[in-house]
């Protein structure tokens, strides 16, 4: 029986010839990532609960501070201090204020064929480079840190055959939100979402990150785009080697197969408070907003900043609207500065934030108040996700978000 990409990666990590869904395997992890959302708890457990505290391989571990950066209160500052000190003492690589963890991992670490655990649900993004990234809690991560290993229940794979190209003004963000709307918030629970076909290969690495990153919003263990020459080119351009490029076998077994023609995808919006409450933008009606946010591991890269700058050139952000922009990493930020994008955004009245998770996770910056409405390129629109429990979050593409910042309304082009 043939295997899917995800099954092949697990088999490699388990040191066995083949695996099948439902099997449980002990695996050796290629890499582990932990951010400031939970690392302070991991360190407490390391010191206070382990009988034999040790680190299997410090070079496989990356700590990234991105959730509450810079610290907004003394308790956060203490949590950060703990993380900083532990990294220093143990010789673990630490990034602080350099960007959102997943973007840093893409830029500096992820290689095709790797099995990576991250203490953050959006670790599933790494499938954009043909890797198996999955989110775990801090106890699972600690077990990995100590033993270098973990266990995996091999998931079934759902195949998405993509054909064609997205129309102008439609983005991979619209595609993945459409898919989540179609299959539901648990439509891929404990499954691998595998994207293949010429439509997938037409997508840039940036676009593939957008696609894979949100797979957890359908419950998936990971999302993987069939890797190709674009992956090799990207990884090599970052100074890394490609050792394992796994492609699904022709006789691989899928739990389900979906076909999506990208040319049929249209701009969509996910309504509060569920990521799978997705409707076409044209059917939404006009929704007045208080704040717009462009950023996050899903949608804060140079491609999205370019979209915003092109729309904002010579225009102003609506007077009673705040438009907050947080580049996904400092590398993205510097690129945007070089291209004059930040000049355009600032002249239009946008507030530029440091590279971090920012408004997307509603704890540190740009939090919204009672009954306020936010349109966001963030990852989630759960109740109270960006601030007060009565506030509302709509998820949309960079174009829809920027247009709303200009007019003060989420609305389709037809209405404008």
């Amino acid at each position: 029986m043939g295997m899917t990409i995800g099954e092949k990666i697990i088999a490699k990590a388990a040191g066995v010839k083949s695996v099948k869904p439902g099997d449980i395997h002990t695996v050796t992890l290629d890499r582990m990532m932990s951010n400031d959302g939970t690392t302070h708890l991991t360190i407490d457990m390391y010191y206070n609960q382990l009988k034999n505290p040790r680190i299997a391989d410090k070079d496989k571990i990356v700590f990234i501070m991105d959730h509450n950066v810079p610290a907004e209160n003394p308790k956060t500052a203490e949590a950060h201090k703990k993380m900083r000190n532990f990294a220093r003492e143990q010789g673990i690589k630490l990034y602080e204020g350099q960007g959102v963890c997943h973007q840093i991992m893409m830029e500096d670490y992820v290689c095709p064929g790797e099995l990576i655990f991250g203490a953050d649900s959006h670790t599933c993004a790494y499938g954009a480079l043909g890797a198996f990234g999955t989110g775990v809690g801090c106890t699972d991560l600690l077990y990995g840190i100590v033993t270098g290993q973990s266990w995996v229940l091999v998931p079934e794979t759902i195949r998405f055959n993509l054909t064609g190209k997205l129309p102008k003004g439609v983005y991979p963000r619209d595609l993945i939100l459409t898919i989540i709307g179609d299959i539901g918030a648990n439509g891929a629970n404990y499954k691998i979402m595998e994207f293949a076909g010429e439509g997938a290969h037409n997508l840039s690495i940036n676009d593939r990150i957008v696609l894979c990153n949100l797979c957890v919003e359908a419950g998936a263990k990971t999302g993987i785009v069939e890797p190709d020459d674009k992956v090799i080119e990207y990884v090599k351009s970052r100074g890394r080697n490609v050792e394992h490029m796994f492609i699904s076998d022709d006789d691989a077994v899928y739990e389900k197969v979906y076909n999506y023609d990208l040319s049929k995808i249209q701009p969509v919006v996910a309504r509060p408070d569920f990521v799978d409450d997705v409707i076409p933008l044209k059917d939404l009606g006009r929704v007045k907003i208080d704040q717009a946010f462009l950023g996050s591991c899903n949608n804060g890269r140079i491609d999205e900043l370019r979209v915003a700058a092109n729309l904002l050139k010579g225009k102003k952000v609506k007077e009673d609207v705040r438009f907050l922009v947080a580049p996904a990493s400092n590398e993205v930020y510097l690129q945007a500065l070089e291209e004059g994008i930040m000049d355009t955004l600032m002249e239009a009245g946008a507030q530029i934030m440091n590279a971090n998770c920012s408004v997307c996770w509603g704890s540190c910056q740009g939090v919204i108040g009672e009954n306020e409405v936010l349109v966001s390129t963030g990852t989630r629109n759960f109740k109270g996700r960006a601030g007060h429990p009565s506030s509302k979050v709509y998820l949309a593409s960079a174009e829809t978000v920027t247009r709303a910042a200009i007019t003060g309304y989420i609305e389709s082009q037809e209405e404008m």
């Binding site: 449980i24 708890l41 704890s363």
Partner: protein, 160 residues
């Protein structure tokens, strides 16, 4: 076996509802637990008692990988979470911190909030009134981790 009071939760209760982002960097679970389910019921942490259970519909614990979610429930004395289905990261995290999670399709539709059920965790069964509900069995490894009281104990026990 002692009886447990039921707290009911709807479909797709995400981990942001269980414990909101703004509390995650507090120093420890004890400081966080008072904010459990704050957005859905600000008094929940005061009302809940040791030994109570959560009975939820589909996809309980979806969203973020924050382990603080099962940890605050355990710290409040929640004996188990029983749901029609769980999101995968929450499910795994719950077992890792030693919080029993039971998949049961029928109980949610039968039981009302604050009614009492009797749990037999070793059998994976629930009694409500004169009805018995069988829950889906965990794979052996996960059951072992849970029986040890979580992944850290499991690890410590396996150390020579």
């Amino acid at each position: 076996m002692s009886k447990s009071r039921v707290w009911k939760f709807h479909n797709d209760v995400d981990t942001d509802q269980i414990i909101a982002s703004q509390y995650l960097l507090l120093p420890n679970i004890e400081e966080m637990k008072g904010y459990t389910f704050e957005s859905l019921d600000p008094e929940f942490a005061q009302k809940v008692q040791e030994g109570d259970v959560i009975v939820a519909a589909e996809n309980f614990g979806c969203g973020s990988s924050r382990e603080q979610a099962p940890s605050v429930l355990k710290a409040l004395g929640i004996k188990a979470v029983i749901a029609k289905s769980f999101a995968r990261i929450f499910y795994r995290n719950a077992i890792n911190v030693g919080l029993p999670v039971l998949v049961c399709k029928e109980l949610y539709d039968d039981v009302e909030e604050l009614e009492e059920v009797t749990l037999d965790l070793s059998e994976g069964s629930i009694a409500y009134g004169d009805r018995q509900y069988a829950c889906t069995k965990l794979p052996e490894l996960m059951q072992t981790i849970l029986d040890k009281g979580g992944l850290i104990n499991y690890l410590n026990n396996s150390e020579v």
